[in-house]
């Protein structure tokens, strides 16, 4: 079976379900996940992002390949997941109750 991500990022393969297109889908998965699940993804993805800067700077968005696209989506998920892990200690924003803000226009990729 083909890799979801580029070879340098093979450690992310067990977390391929985080390679989601669109902020709405990524945020929905975040609030439907437990802190343990968010932490597990973060612990694998964050060091890869930290080390992967040079790689990402070489990935141009015009004509981006599928593997790189999946990687970008997974790291976009990491951005969303970083808030519960680094700031909130819970999947939802504290005191945000029933309120919601939805992405209605997003760049393609």
């Amino acid at each position: 079976m083909a890799n979801v991500f580029p070879a340098d990022f093979a450690a992310l393969e067990p977390y391929a379900d985080w390679a989601l297109q669109g902020e709405r889908a990524r945020y929905a998965k975040r609030v439907a996940s437990s802190m343990e699940e968010l932490q597990a993804f973060y612990d694998v993805a964050f060091p890869l992002l930290d080390k992967g800067t040079e790689y990402l700077e070489k990935v141009t968005l015009d004509g981006i390949g599928d593997e790189d696209k999946h990687l970008l989506w997974a790291f976009c998920s990491l951005v969303t997941v970083a808030f519960p892990v680094e700031a909130w200690g819970q999947p939802r924003v504290p005191d945000s109750g029933p309120s919601s803000i939805d992405a209605v226009v997003e760049p393609v990729v």
Binding site: T53, K58, L61, V79, T80, F83, I101, D102
Partner: protein, 425 residues
């Protein structure tokens, strides 16, 4: 603990000659007052409904629901390239002309003519009625009398505004005044990477402007967004603006730089360190053809070296934020009742050149959303307690001068409208 100088009067509020007494929020909880605002404000002032990039080609159009003004408008680029606006109403039986599955939802697209779903009456892109189904069944129908009703539309720096008042004689340029003129030349057209967010908020529209027209709340409500040591430091420091300014109904606050980039990396969360980005945007600014020092004069008006962002409040409901790292955020607050409104937040960046820059922008907009969720929910708590009428006056500080100006201005529009003979009956 003054960090930045104030006017010689000792305060911004006294400088602008705005009352310093506690304020009433009756204007934000009264259904009757809201009904007056709809006619006095939203049917009379210039309203920003979008940008020219949303109309890339001849025949490109979008609709905008203006519930507060009891209107829906079609904004379209004609065959001559001009941007026009029309009331979204078919002249035959009053059906909404352009909509998709859900009549209350906005839509967009590209077409050569607008055709009514009901009986196929058709209008060209300039609003002229061009086809009537079974025209011979009508009674000497003069099609030239039944074009779409036009709405004043003008463009400023790529931002499309409409004015629903058929008697309006103030040009958009004059309406936007000194701030509009002083921003001209900012290369908005280079910032075409767009992220847009939308929220339904359970508060009066003015209360959300209040929340975003002052940063006095930021060290407190948003303290969880900082690392612990930094949160404590920021709380102790408090918040002061570099300067405030008022021009007619409009206002602005110019702010210092905050965290972009931070003086010490330990001040920010790990994701911000890794991506060199955060709420203030990516730390390395893209080239927009102008240096910070060369920005138009209304931006960073004090020419402060520690400047970080300006927030312009164009009355009634359009806010424009220009950030030092060369990106822009706009806020719109569209009232739907006296205690509800739709909030839109739109971020504009220079298109990213690679995946890393795309991630930097993602962190900026996601940070904005996380902050916005905290603000939006707090507003519902404020609205319900204001409506309880437990208290009827509230002290505002000098860092909240723009709030006083907004509520004072909105009340003046309503008072002046109520005094007009034609509306007094």
């Amino acid at each position: 603990m003054a960090h930045f100088p104030k006017p010689s009067e000792g305060s911004w509020t006294e400088h602008f000659k705005i009352d310093t007494e506690p304020v009433s929020y009756a204007d934000s909880i009264s259904p009757e007052h809201y009904e007056l605002e709809r006619d006095a404000i939203f049917r009379r002032t210039w309203l920003n409904v979008g940008r020219v990039e949303q109309l890339p080609r001849k025949g490109s159009y979008f609709t905008k629901e203006l519930d507060a003004a009891r209107a829906s408008v079609i904004v379209v680029r004609g065959t001559d390239g001009e941007v026009r606006a029309f009331h979204n109403v078919c002249r035959h039986r009053g059906n909404k002309l352009v909509w998709d599955d859900f009549p209350r939802e906005e839509t967009k697209g590209n077409c050569r003519a607008f055709t009514c779903k009901y009986h196929a009456w058709r209008y060209d892109l300039e609003g002229k009625l061009t086809f009537v189904q079974q025209e011979s069944e009508f009674f000497d129908l003069d099609k030239s009398r039944y074009g779409l009703l036009p709405v004043h539309a003008e463009v400023w720096e790529g931002f499309i505004f409409v004015n629903l008042d058929p008697d309006n004689t103030t040009s958009l340029k004059d309406y936007l005044g000194r701030f509009g003129q002083g921003i001209e030349g900012y290369p908005f057209h280079k910032l075409t990477q767009v992220h847009k967010y939308r929220a339904e908020i359970g508060s009066n529209w003015k209360l959300f402007i209040d929340a975003f027209a002052e940063f006095y709340h930021a060290p407190i409500l948003h303290s969880g967004q900082y690392v612990a040591d930094e949160a404590a430091k920021i709380k102790k420091y408090g918040y002061e603006a570099l300067s405030y300014d008022i021009d007619g109904p409009h206002s602005m606050v110019s702010s210092w730089g905050g965290i972009a980039p931070p003086k010490a990396r330990a001040m920010v969360k790990p994701i911000e360190r890794a991506l060199r980005s955060g709420l203030f945007g990516p730390w390395e600014e893209p080239d927009i053809g102008l240096t910070t020092e060369q920005l138009p004069p209304a931006i960073n008006p004090t020419r402060s070296k520690v400047w970080g962002m300006d927030s312009f409040v164009f009355f009634p409901n359009f806010m424009l934020l220009v950030w030092r790292p060369n990106w822009v955020l706009t806020y719109h607050y569209w009232p739907t009742s006296h205690h509800t409104h739709i909030f839109e937040g739109t971020a504009y960046f220079v298109p990213p050149q690679n995946a890393f820059q795309r991630l930097q922008q993602e962190l900026a907009v996601v940070s904005f959303k996380e902050y916005g969720l905290q603000d939006g929910n707090t507003l519902e708590a404020t609205q319900t307690m204001l409506e309880s009428r437990t208290l009827d006056e509230f002290p505002l500080c000098d860092q909240e001068v723009l709030l006083r100006h907004l509520h004072t201005t909105a009340r003046k529009f309503v008072d002046s409208y109520a005094k007009q003979p034609s509306t007094a009956s």
